[in-house]
């Protein structure tokens, strides 16, 4: 790539970065991004284990689940994967590879 305005900025960035901040910053930045995710993840598991927030911890113990799947009067009385479930809650998938193939034919490069 020829040296242009933005390419130049990038090069300056690299040099300034090494000069001012040293090389270990990358590790820190990546680690801090995952810390951020880790903090949210921990909060999720804490809520799961907190009986004041979630009285039950298994889906099959949820009283509203028992109600909707009730064999007698439940809306989904045939149980999971029954007729009504298949009608409302299950789906099918669509092969979308053709559009990608067209793009590749046009000369676009992708990672996969």
């Amino acid at each position: 790539m020829k040296m242009n305005r933005r390419g130049f900025m990038k090069t300056c960035g690299i040099m300034a970065g090494y000069a001012v901040l040293g090389v270990n910053l990358t590790k820190e930045a990546v680690a801090s991004a995952m810390d951020f995710v880790g903090m949210r993840q921990k909060s999720v598991y804490d809520a799961d284990a907190n009986s004041k927030i979630y009285k039950y911890r298994k889906s099959q113990d949820n009283p509203m689940i028992k109600k909707i799947y009730d064999h007698k009067n439940g809306f989904l009385h045939e149980g999971p994967c029954g007729h009504m479930s298949h009608h409302l809650l299950h789906t099918h998938y669509v092969d979308r590879s053709a559009r990608l193939a067209t793009l590749k034919d046009k000369g676009f490069k992708f990672n996969l």
Binding site: N4, R5, R6, G7, K10, G13, I14, A16, G17, Y18, V20, V23, L25, T26, E28, V30, S32, A33, M34, F36, V37, G38, R40, Q41, S43, V44, D46, A47, D48, Y54, Y56, K58, S59, Q60, D61, N62, P63, M64, I65, G79, P80, C81, S85, L88, L89, H90, T91, Y93, D95, R96, S97, R99, L100, T102, L103, F108, K109, F110, N111, L112
Partner: protein, 419 residues
């Protein structure tokens, strides 16, 4: 264009169009500084330099899974969202003839508080329900309820698949989860031959839409055609999912609008609600009550753990005393585990987040070398809590200089390693 929690949005609320033709994320060339952070996080390569200046663009919606990882990692805020239903939802909330229903995903309640100054990850589920009531939603239903339904359906499907092996017309193993719309589109685009391995279950929001307009309408004596369902997600790809033409099993559009955590925060602020002083409230029960198994859907490994809490009890006929199945909890990358179920044997599972990790597991399945029964995949590293629609990591833009340098260093080092 409108700025919402640090991200630009086009006020575009599409109806009845092919979502494959929409750019859900795109680069503003005037703001792009050619740093390349976006193409590093993109697994497909849909976002790439389009000229000698290194200005980036999403080249075609067909190659983009709408995960938004490029957007949340752009240190210059140059990537915007192409679809926003916020204005339309405000109108529907005002219309006395429309029954507006809220459907927030698990991860929203672990991100929303950050927009109001709470520390990263603070749980604000109760306040979120109260805020939705204040905004004027008629029913506070919750996508966590259908996370529990998903476990019942998908867990049952898995047990059926295991039992039918060796029989005629058996559905193949491993079974892949189908909750993540970025992953589903990825499979349809890059691994269509593996579609039979995908669970036929809709995602939790794909289930709550039609249940709201059938079961929910019945339970509340509401006319289904008056119901307007709002999916509230930590995710951008869910906007694509909501527009899938086949999601109309209730006899209407199952999902009328989709927004993300940032847009919900914006709506709460616009309405002048003082979020931090709200009391904690419960959702409306019929389609609102949920369990710990449902809330962990927000984490990578969560669907797996929740499903195992069911599968263990069904397969062994025993009670699972300690529901913590920590071996499947996944912070990054790929995690595999053998889970021993008494009276059944070993259930082999894998969990991956990030689409390049997904590709590794897919290649294994394609080659017929996958030893697993069940594989959970999420597009965003760490899971939905790190979704493309969540509040931004302040570190990424707090110091533009620092983060840019870090990004450049990262590429420099990555090159050195592969050279």
């Amino acid at each position: 264009m409108k700025q919402i929690e640090g991200v630009m949005y086009q006020a575009n609320a599409p109806k009845g169009v092919d979502p494959d033709g929409i750019f859900f994320v795109q680069v503003d060339p005037a703001k792009c500084e050619a740093c390349g952070s976006c193409d590093e996080v993109c697994a497909t390569g849909a976002i790439q330099a389009i000229n000698d200046d290194g200005i980036h663009a999403v080249v075609d919606p067909a190659a983009c899974m709408n995960c938004g990882q490029c957007l949340v990692n752009c240190p210059y805020g140059a990537i915007y969202e192409g679809v926003s239903y916020v204005d339309e939802i405000f109108e529907k909330l005002k219309d006395p003839d429309t029954i507006v229903v809220s459907m927030p995903a698990p991860a929203v309640r672990y991100g929303l508080g950050e927009c109001f100054g709470a520390p990263t990850g603070t749980y604000v589920g109760g306040k979120m329900h109260a805020a939705l009531r204040k905004l004027g939603f008629d029913y506070i239903w919750d996508n966590e309820f259908t996370a529990d339904v998903t476990i019942m359906e998908e867990g049952t499907e898995l047990i059926q698949r295991v039992k039918e092996q060796g029989k005629k017309n058996a559905r193949p193993l491993p079974q892949f989860t189908s909750c993540c719309p970025g992953w589903v589109k990825f499979a349809e685009t890059f691994y269509p031959d593996l579609m039979p391995n995908l669970s036929s279950c809709k995602s939790p929001i794909g289930m709550l839409g039609p249940l709201a307009k059938t079961y929910g309408a019945h339970e509340t004596h509401t006319k289904a055609k008056k119901i307007y369902t709002v999916s509230i997600m930590p995710c951008i790809a869910k906007k694509y999912e909501g527009l899938r033409p086949e999601l109309a099993d209730s006899g209407f559009r199952d999902i009328d609008a989709t927004i993300n955590t940032r847009e919900l925060a914006h709506m709460i602020k616009t309405a002048g609600i003082s979020f931090n002083s709200l009391p904690s409230q419960q959702p409306d029960p019929a389609l609102g009550d949920s369990t710990g198994a449902a809330t962990i859907f927000g984490n990578s490994g969560g669907v797996m753990e929740a499903a195992l809490r069911l599968a263990y009890e069904v397969l062994s006929g025993k009670k699972l005393d300690n529901p913590d199945i920590k071996v499947v909890r996944t912070h990054e990358g790929i995690n595999t585990a053998d889970v021993k179920v008494p009276g059944f044997g070993t259930v082999k599972v894998a969990v991956a987040s990030g689409l390049s990790n997904a590709a590794k597991l897919c290649d294994e399945v394609r080659a017929g070398k996958s030893p697993y029964h069940f594989i959970e995949i999420m597009s965003c590293p760490g899971g939905c809590v790190n979704g493309g629609g969540q509040p931004l990591d302040p570190e990424i833009r707090a110091s533009l200089f620092r983060s840019t340098v870090a990004q450049i260093n990262k590429r420099f080092r990555a090159r050195k390693v592969t050279a």
